[in-house]
Amino acid sequence: MSEILLKSPGRETPVVVEVQRCREGECGDYRVQLDQDAHDVEVICVDDGSAVLRIHGRIVPVCVLRDGNRMNVWVRGRIYVLERVERVARRASSGAATTAQQSALSAPMPGTILKIHVSAGDSFAAHQPLIVMESMKMEMTLSAPHDGRIREVLCRPGQLVEMGALLVRFEDGPGDESSR
């Protein structure tokens, strides 16, 4: 019997899934306890990361692509993200920075910087266009996530930037991690 803790990324509370291998020595049959219900699962076949399950007679092809503790699960044309949680219940870092102010703007995609509308020291308002970049042959405007002031510009027009590259750094706004 194994126990796995899974949660969907937005949620706090993990779900405990118990997996029991039935009929020792025989292949392919598991009992999976999820919430109140137990499911008899037969594994019809499995390739690395893909499997066809039979759950109460229903044939269910699935694919799982792992990325660390994150699992992308394909079921019938849709992909769901689940996270594996360690048994030691470390309180998730309480969603810091999700609604708090950002401290910088970074490139959402690799691409080329076309235009920079601001310089260090400039104030800006929420939704104001700050940078125009081109990525995959499309032009895209990066706007301010909130009101603030530019501390530093870290790119220049024509520059090819990687995904996640810091483009401008903001002065610390009125909010910080402790405030909501």
């Binding site: 194994s2 796995i4 803790l5 899974l6 969907s8 779900v15 899934v17 997996v19 291998r21 292949c27 598991y30 999976v32 999820l34 219900d37 499911h39 699962v41 594994v43 499995v46 390739d47 690395d48 990361g49 893909s50 499997a51 399950l53 759950i55 269910v60 699935v62 694919c63 799982v64 692509l65 792992r66 699992m71 992308n72 699960v73 394909w74 079921v75 019938r76 044309g77 849709r78 992909i79 769901y80 689940l82 594996r84 959402p108 995609m109 690799p110 691409g111 076309l114 081109e134 990525s135 995959m136 042959k137 499309m138 032009e139 895209m140 995904m163």
Partner: protein
């Protein structure tokens, strides 16, 4: 017929053209950029030669390099596909000068139709209705711009004269936004086409995008192969196309087809082309532009006319008469194409890059997938994020939708975010099923999964296939598998 044809393109369209060439006994010659050295399209060809460089402008846009390769290897003709050099009259002329057949219309027709302003004037002169607009010098005088826009009436559409595919296009709702939109469109157009001219057009609310496939030969014959409705668009780019259009009566179809043929004859059109119209809710249609090439969505027409358009292109380019007359052509059944993009519908359709960790195409009777990727392919920043086209055919629109939904439900693409589930949600939307389409469909009908609920099957799959279930920290299921990692040996091609 030609002996050896070079395909000056990449991805799914190069794969698709190669198949027809090879069937006809013609040697298919591929070219490739450095990142495409191992791409599917290269392997689909009989011969392959490198275009050293990484970006499009270093490779697939380099007509000089391509013609040099063609001359060196005894190529008779060049098929440009769509995009890249397909609507470049200079390249068509260079082919001609090198004694190589360019598979497409004449350089003059490409030039005239490529200039949206000339095209509009030409079609208007041939009696085809056009949208009210202004094509003066938008950059010269802000005042004139505002006054002309006022005359046409807002909302206004700013379009690139050399444009296509939604690039250099902006909708302007009010005068205050006009100057900025014109500037952005000019910049984008300049970068994309090397021609920053833009023009203004009356923006028609809730229009349908309906286009007519035309085909002409060197003997003066021009026919149309009916319409495709391409109203489902995001970022001004089509994502779902179908034929027939649910909006067309037989009378309207005949009228639009005739308009397209009349104008095409007037300009001496040869080979495959598409006349795009917008259709307003009252059934009035207006000429939009001509695409002087094979269209991305040409398979929709192939599946309802049961003709191979690439084969016909080759016949016509070789000087033969059109292999079909207007009377022989019928529109049979219903076909729908979905463009499968690596993009995130939840984040404004922003392109997504990465490795296709898992890629399994749906298959079955009446299902066609034109693709240029496979498991293990890299989706890079260098090229368009369209991975594949799924084209399904049924007797009726309802059957075609059923088949498409079936296929989307079985399409596995993991490693990049795609629009697969989004397309499914569009196809099953009641308004889509009723055929109530227009180009703002996606803006008016917010499409999203009906529920955030993660189904039980996903929890069970994750639990069984996670690394946590066995005592050895391996997946219960991969514990008995080969020692390789979950994706390392998943059938992907790799370098030696």
């Amino acid at each position: 017929m030609f002996k050896k044809v070079l395909i000056a393109n990449r991805g799914e369209i190069a794969v698709r053209i190669a198949a027809t060439l090879q069937e006809m006994g013609i040697t298919a010659v591929g070219v490739y950029s450095d990142p495409d050295r191992r791409a599917v399209h290269v392997r689909a060809c009989d011969e392959g030669y490198p275009l050293s460089g990484r970006t499009s402008s270093e490779t697939y846009l380099r007509g000089d390099k391509i013609i040099e390769i063609a001359k060196m290897h005894g190529v008779d003709a060049i098929h440009p596909g769509y995009g890249f050099l397909s609507e470049n009259e200079d390249f068509a002329q260079m082919c001609h000068d090198a004694g190589i057949t360019f598979i497409g219309p004449s350089p003059k027709v490409i030039r005239d139709m490529g200039d949206k302003i000339i095209a509009k004037t030409t079609f208007a002169a041939a009696g085809v209705p056009v949208v009210p607009g202004w094509s003066g010098d938008a950059s010269a005088d802000g005042k004139a711009l505002n006054s002309e826009a006022g005359r046409i009436g807002y909302p206004i559409l700013v379009k690139a004269a050399a444009g296509g595919g939604g690039k250099g296009m902006r909708v302007v709702e009010k005068e205050a936004d006009l100057a900025a939109a014109v500037e952005a469109a000019q910049r984008e157009a300049g970068a994309a086409f090397g021609d920053s001219r833009v023009f203004l057009e009356k923006y028609i609310t809730r229009p349908r995008h309906v286009e007519i496939q035309i085909f002409g030969d060197a003997h003066g014959n021009v026919v149309h192969l009916f319409e495709r409705e391409c109203s489902i668009q995001r970022r001004h780019q089509k994502i779902i196309e179908e034929s027939p259009s649910p909006a067309l009566t037989p009378e309207l179809r005949a009228k639009m087809g005739q308009a397209a043929v009349t104008a095409a004859k007037a300009i001496g059109y040869t080979n495959a082309g598409t006349v795009e119209f917008i259709l307003d809710p009252e059934g009035n249609f207006y000429f939009l532009e001509v695409n002087t090439r094979l269209q991305v969505e040409h398979p929709v027409t192939e599946l309802v006319t049961h003709r191979d358009l690439v084969r016909a292109q080759l016949h016509v380019a070789a000087g033969h008469p059109l292999p079909f007359s207007q009377d022989e052509l019928t529109q049979d059944g219903h076909a729908i194409e979905c463009r499968i993009y690596a993009e995130d519908p939840a984040r404004g359709f922003l392109p997504s890059i990465g490795t296709l960790g898992r890629y399994i195409e749906p298959r079955g009777p009446g299902i066609r997938v034109d693709s240029g990727v496979e498991q293990g392919s890299e989706v890079s920043v260098y090229y368009d994020p369209m991975l594949a086209k799924l084209i399904c055919r049924g007797r009726t629109r309802e059957e075609a939708i059923e088949k498409t939904v079936w296929a989307l439900d079985r399409y596995v693409i993991m490693g990049v975010t795609t629009n697969v589930a989004f397309l499914r949600d569009v196809l099953t939307h009641p308004e889509f099923q009723r055929g109530n389409l227009h180009t703002h469909f996606l803006a008016e009908h917010p499409i999203g999964p009906s529920t955030d609920e993660i189904p039980r099957d996903a929890w069970i799959a994750a639990a069984l296939l996670s690394g946590a279930a066995s005592s050895r920290g391996q997946s219960l299921l991969t514990a008995t598998a080969a020692p390789s990692g979950p994706w390392e040996s998943a059938g992907a091609w790799r370098g030696p």
